[in-house]
Amino acid sequence: MEHAVHDRGGMSPGEPIDRTEHELEDWELLTDALAGALARAGVMNVDQLRRGIESMPSDEYERAGYYERWLFSIETNLTEKGILVPGELDGRL
């Protein structure tokens, strides 16, 4: 059975768990809040957020930080919905 990268149950036996505490950075809070604002605006719901995260290429998914995955998903969703024009955000950086 094809195994999606986000479906992790049983996938990493014995892998050490890094228990370092990590307080959320401002940009991470912003990413979280932006997803919430998009949901309240009826633009992108949580199931779409998850689906977008799951659409990341496997190696990128495993390398990315948690909120980097959220950002990828938000951009993917908004581009699919025609709200973001491809390249538009890059042009603002």
Binding site: H6, R8, R19, D32, A37, R63, E68
Partner: protein, 216 residues
């Protein structure tokens, strides 16, 4: 390298090139994205700020209040286990936007432990944002398949004969563990009891504190 083996370097803080101000590329990107979306009228800055304010207002204190009340009031505990959202409402606490919140009780026979193997579902309204390890790939993997080994890493060894129950939060239900009240706490009031209830004990990877935390 010696005898060390390489394993995938996965973690939950940013791994991208550090920008000139020490932040990852994603930081500038999300700020620019917010600007763009506000300009386009897709979201308002106020809505985003409200979201940030809500998130930073969340901590394990609310969950601890629920647990402490359950410890002193058996009828409240019954109500908490039947409907955690209604019980939170009783205490004026925000149980959050998830459709359903379920409190599960640890007993002499049963120890509960919570995970979300598919992403990071977590009762944020009552516990605050989840710790990085909860969202990590190793925890998401091993909490379901090797929970006793995970508990050992967290310093927990269950008494013989205790059933370990792992709950994988795959849908719209959020789980909160009600740990057992530590022995020798009969003289403590609710506020003191709440101080014993740690975030990790409400996830199920730790027992509550036995004594009040000492001020530095």
């Amino acid at each position: 390298m010696g005898s060390d083996h390489e394993h995938p370097h996965v973690h939950d803080h940013p791994h991208e090139p550090i920008g000139h101000d020490g932040e990852p590329a994603a930081a500038a990107r999300v700020r620019a994205l917010e600007e763009l979306l506000v300009e386009k009228g897709v979201v308002t800055r106020e809505s985003v700020r409200q979201g940030v304010d809500w998130l930073v207002s969340r901590s394990p204190a609310d969950g601890a209040r629920l647990v402490a009340r359950a410890w002193v009031d058996p009828r409240f505990k019954e109500r908490l286990l039947a409907d955690a959202r209604a019980a939170a409402d009783e205490l004026g606490l925000d149980a959050g936007p998830s459709p359903k919140v379920v409190a599960v009780e640890n007993t002499d026979e049963l120890h509960n432990m919570v995970v979300c193997t598919l992403c990071s579902c977590y009762p944020r309204a009552l516990l605050g944002p989840p710790p990085a390890w909860y969202k990590s790939l190793p925890y998401r993997s091993r909490a379901v398949s090797e929970p006793r080994a995970v508990l050992a890493e967290f310093g927990v060894e269950l008494d013989p004969g205790v059933e370990l129950r792992v709950l994988d939060s795959t849908a719209d239900v959020r789980y909160l563990v009600v740990p057992q009240r530590p022995k020798g706490t009969d003289g403590l009031d609710e506020k003191a009891l709440a101080a014993l209830v740690t975030r990790d004990s409400m996830i199920g990877v730790a027992q509550p504190r036995a004594t009040e935390p000492q001020l530095a």
